[in-house]
């Protein structure tokens, strides 16, 4: 479990970075762009989580 949590640091950093990008677009009133960036970030985070769970546990 600890290995999994440690391995999830990189996907978490990518998620935070992508969410910041989405928030920046939200401020620029690009709502479709912002929500699509959130979706891509979440999809990448979940997919990485599934793979790492399988590898680390």
């Amino acid at each position: 479990m600890l290995r999994f949590l440690a391995a999830m640091v990189i996907p978490l950093w990518v998620l935070v970075y992508t969410v910041q990008f989405g928030r920046w677009m939200h401020k620029k009133r690009l709502r479709v762009g912002a929500w699509s960036a959130y979706t891509v970030g979440a999809a990448a985070f979940v997919a990485a989580g599934v793979v790492l769970w399988r590898v680390c546990t």
Partner: protein, 367 residues
């Protein structure tokens, strides 16, 4: 509407080198095995006939671009003529295609590296380091990708030609007969099934407006298709002279299998480690351009003003997606039965039909 990478501009030679590597890098993947199953002894004809289809599409696209959309790329044509919702759908389809081929090819390269040169390294470590490199190069932008491809192309060409020549003492030209291999009908089906490796057509159409001179579209399309075809045919001819047809349909890593056979005396043998460098360089260029194109299509479709911040997420998505299938046979089956067989619709038909329909529609005001 904001346009990502608006100032990106790439020269003709760099673009041609990039597109040549995008197609010719299939020599390292399972393309030789798949076409061997379709044409047996005549499989070297498959890329020639597929190239004819690609050339016809390139010439038709060039005519449509010159006649109706002289200063635009495919995504911009969609945006201007179809409106935002349709552009969004079409760009997502194109982006999913590029993401799928990035993930599948990444898995094939990872498996090849793990089974051949780094057997004790975990596959996700190989994949992680590989995707970090790919995302970094894509982060450098279109110019960076083009320059790297321009530097890598001579290494790549010399590598393939030397691989072919170093196995000369193992050539058995009789293996190339009967000339028509599995028969003309099977050969033609093989051509139709595998013509989608000419991804250069859609890549070029997507980034047409980032070329120094968009009028060079035809020259780049034709040259990259011809150069890649020559490399593919040289490799397939040699592959079929070295291995019998029964073996060619079974080898999942043809280039590695051929490199292992090199034996030109006591001091010139087992040169596969030299070819790994060429193999990885070509893979980086191929995956970088497909990842960049996926990001570009998504940014045009979703209205993102920049595309760089999304590259880490797309890279992670490709890496995770490539590791989701539990074994290589699932990946190879997906590549053979889905990607190679059906994506001609996206590679050839989508740009062609898109431009034809767009030419008939009136210009819309892009918000």
């Amino acid at each position: 509407m904001p346009r990502p990478q608006a100032e990106a501009s790439i020269g003709g030679r760099e673009m041609t080198a990039t597109l040549t590597i995008v197609v010719a890098s299939h020599t390292f993947l399972n393309y030789p095995r798949v076409v061997s199953a379709a044409g047996y002894e005549a499989s070297w004809m498959v890329p020639i006939l597929s190239a004819v289809i690609a050339l016809v599409v390139v010439l038709a696209l060039d005519w449509l671009f010159q006649r109706y959309f002289s200063d635009m790329g495919l995504a911009e044509v969609f945006q201007q003529r179809f409106g935002i919702p349709v552009t969004m759908v079409l760009c997502v389809v194109i982006a999913l295609y590029f993401l799928a081929i990035t993930a599948i090819i990444l898995r094939q390269f990872m498996e090849n590296v793990v089974t051949t040169v780094l057997p004790n390294t975990p596959i996700y470590v190989v994949g992680g380091l590989f995707i970090i490199t790919v995302v970094y190069v894509a982060f450098c932008g279109l110019e960076g990708i083009g320059r790297i491809a321009f530097l890598a192309l001579p290494v790549f060409v010399v590598g393939i030609i030397s691989l072919c020549l170093f196995t000369m003492n193992q050539w058995r030209p009789a293996f190339l007969f009967p000339l028509w291999g599995a028969g003309i009908p099977n050969l033609l089906w093989g051509v139709l099934d595998n013509s989608s490796i000419f991804t250069n057509v859609i890549v070029l159409a997507m980034i047409r407006m980032h070329i120094h001179d968009p009028k060079e579209f035809r020259r780049m399309g034709v040259r990259s298709t011809l150069y890649a075809t020559v490399l593919l045919v040289c490799f397939l001819l040699t592959y079929h002279m070295v291995f019998s047809p029964a073996e060619t349909v079974k080898l999942t890593s043809p280039m590695y299998s051929m490199a292992r056979l090199i034996h030109l005396g006591r001091f010139v043998q087992r040169l596969e480690s030299i070819f790994i460098f060429m193999w990885v360089s070509a893979a980086v260029v191929k995956l970088t351009i497909t990842l960049w194109c996926a990001a570009y299509a998504l940014s045009v479709g979703m209205g993102w003003p920049v595309l760089r911040p999304i590259l880490p997420a797309l890279g992670l998505l490709c890496l995770a997606g490539s590791l989701l299938p539990t074994n290589l046979s699932v990946v190879l089956q997906t590549m053979d039965k889905l990607i190679l067989k059906w994506t001609w619709f996206i590679v050839f038909l989508l740009p062609l039909l898109g431009l034809l329909i767009a030419a008939m529609l009136p210009k819309r005001k892009v918000v």
